[in-house]
Amino acid sequence: MSARENILNAIATNQPSLVPLPVIERNAVIDYEDRYAQFKTVLESIGGKVKLIQNLTELKKQFIADKASGNFVINAVADLGELDNQVASMQASDMEKVEKTYIKATLGVAENGAVWVYESQMQNRLLPFICQHLIIVIDKKDIVATMHQAYESIDVAKEGFGAFIAGPSKTADIEQSLVIGAHGARSATVYVVE
């Protein structure tokens, strides 16, 4: 018999008799009067930055300036300007030089400051992790209260990869002192569009 059968048989013999799944009551969980305010407070407490903007005009200006600065900037937000599609087939050794990345996220979560990003919004799975600085754009109406609502709105099986990202990469492995910028992005700024 294969390991698979041995394991599955052992489990089937040893597992207790069936008990039902609980019902997750949506109205038993917290909601926030001002979800944006909550999102901002939490994200800033974990090292992220949040900026509320009326429309993309301002951000476009910043983006153009970033591009012109000569730094390696990758754009994955269609509304900002031309997409840098070439990143899809780039190798890690080249992407390591990416200074800044602009991506669009599907939603933000008020309770923990995370945003959900699908693979298609990243252009390349590695991009949001390997870049030095991460700029994320979300719409204010897409901030949901908790993870329960977040999972209702997204479909984790729709694409090959997706992630909740909450602020910049960090570690507290040396005597519990918080250091921002362990392996991933050194900064994460979320622009929330009204």
């Binding site: 294969s2 394991i7 309770e111 992790f129 984790v156 990469s169 040396i174 519990q176 910028g181």
Partner: protein, 458 residues
């Protein structure tokens, strides 16, 4: 019984300031957990849901695993099954050999620690670079992690500085965590960029979708998995949950319980390999199905490895993770390890005060302290307790069954301790070791109660 835990703990607490520091550091993490938990009015409800979801999952485990396998395969993931650690290691070695791979990075996975993967591969001159900062630190020092979430929590920044000076050429005596982390970032970025194969753990695997979730704060799992041509994810079979919507419950609990963060920085959902990539999942038993058969202990398989029970445990905080001499230390490790090897780990269920603090913080409501108490009975029945403990226990059983003799002995003992303190404050009394004996009261609680208890009640 081997008294390994107390022997190793003795070494740890010999350095008193360091013991205090360790204790305080972990208590600080425990307090952060409390603050995060109190921030959600539905916290207890979440724990209840998590516990019930896990109960249900265990009761339908074989079907969920089959469903997961089928979906994962349909997603293009290659699924392997390993009955024990040796098989797990062999499967991984096989993949490495087939592709003639040299450069391997690994993100924190307690399962690979449990299976001793690094040591196994070393025999074949294959080196795996641990990429979690804490793991890298202990790897340089040739030590195992001392905590499942904070692997280097037993080290001070001076220790890290000396280690990095030796291995990474950092400035001698520079203890700045920012500087040291930056050095590790540069060193590990090189490893990531060159890596051909990445090994990660699995925090949750979803039966409904055939995908899995990996949580890190540093982003090391992602840096490895998205760079390498091959990604191997290793999971104990208890990591399975029924549906994606249940991730909502567990991701809300995990980081809050672990470090007090609202969520880990990265919660990455792997569904399919990227084009051109090979993705493997190794599903491991290694004693888990046996634990499932032990009615009193099967609850331990609900564990999501948050380490809240470590951070709150008065014994763990004062004895250090290495005193548990196993990959998973702390209260939950003391339940899981006797299942793997009762003889070698018979000491662990005794490394607890049974105060119940672990049970109170556990996000999936495992009755940790009750299980520890039950293990003690099993271990005693199987004859794995040591002679001195047995004699003591028998004497106590005799005494406790004879109330008047017990009272007489108590009176005599208190008198002795007052008049001749050296009778107890000496090396022969193991209770005196590394602790002060309390001052002996004049009267027993019973006498005090007979005098005062009734009066106060009226």
């Amino acid at each position: 019984m081997k008294t390994t835990h107390s022997k190793l703990a003795e070494k740890f607490i010999a350095d008193e300031p360091r013991t205090d520091w360790h204790d305080e550091t972990l208590w600080f993490v425990r307090e952060k957990r409390d603050k995060a938990a109190h921030g959600l009015p539905e916290w207890e409800q979440l724990r209840e849901w998590a516990s019930q979801i896990k109960n249900h999952t265990l009761s339908n485990l074989s079907d969920y695993l089959k469903e997961f396998e089928e979906k994962a395969k349909a997603n293009g993931i290659i699924v392997h099954w390993a009955e024990n650690g040796a098989e797990h290691n062999k499967i991984i070695h096989g993949i490495i050999q087939r592709h003639k791979i040299q450069k391997i990075v690994k993100s924190k996975s307690m399962l690979t620690e449990e299976c001793h993967l690094n040591e196994y591969l070393q025999q074949y001159n294959i080196e795996v670079v641990d990429t979690d900062l804490g793991e890298r630190i202990v790897q340089f020092r040739k030590e195992p992690p001392s905590h499942i979430v904070l692997p280097a929590i037993h080290l001070k920044k001076e220790d890290v500085s000396a280690t990095f000076h030796e291995h990474l050429g950092t400035e001698k005596g520079n203890n700045d965590p920012q500087y040291l982390t930056e050095a590790a970032r540069q060193h590990l970025r090189d490893k990531f960029v060159q890596s051909e194969l990445a090994i990660t753990g699995v925090n949750f695997a979803v039966a409904e979708t055939g995908g899995f979730v990996v949580c890190t704060n540093e982003g090391n799992a992602d840096m490895g998995a998205h760079t390498a041509a091959i990604h191997i994810a290793c999971m104990g079979f208890e990591k399975i949950i029924p549906k994606a919507e249940h991730l909502g419950v567990f991701l809300r609990l995990l980081a809050r319980s672990a470090t007090g963060q609202p969520i880990t920085t990265y919660s990455s959902h792997f569904q399919k390999p990227r084009p051109g990539q090979e993705m493997h999942i190794v599903i491991v038993d290694n004693g888990r199905s046996k634990q499932l058969s032990r009615e009193d202990f099967r609850n331990s398989l609900k564990c999501i490895r948050c380490a809240a029970c470590f951070n709150t445990c008065p014994v763990y905080r004062r004895s250090g993770g290495h005193s548990y001499h196993t990959a998973v230390a702390g209260p939950i490790g003391s339940i899981l390890n006797p299942n793997l090897d009762m003889k070698a780990n018979a000491d662990l269920p005794f490394a607890s005060t049974l105060c119940g603090s672990c049970t109170n913080v556990c996000p999936v409501k495992i009755n940790i302290h009750e299980q520890l108490w039950k293990w003690r009975q099993v271990i005693a029945a199987e004859g794995y307790t040591d002679a001195t403990k047995k004699i003591g226990m028998n004497a106590m059983a005799f005494l406790f069954s004879k109330p008047s003799l017990y009272r007489f002995a108590g009176k005599w003992g208190r008198w002795m301790m007052r008049i001749f303190p050296f009778v107890t404050n000496n090396k022969l009394n193991i209770w005196y070791k590394q602790r002060e004996m309390p001052e002996s009261p004049k009267e027993s609680f019973r006498d005090w109660y007979l005098k005062n208890g009734k009066i106060n009640r009226n």
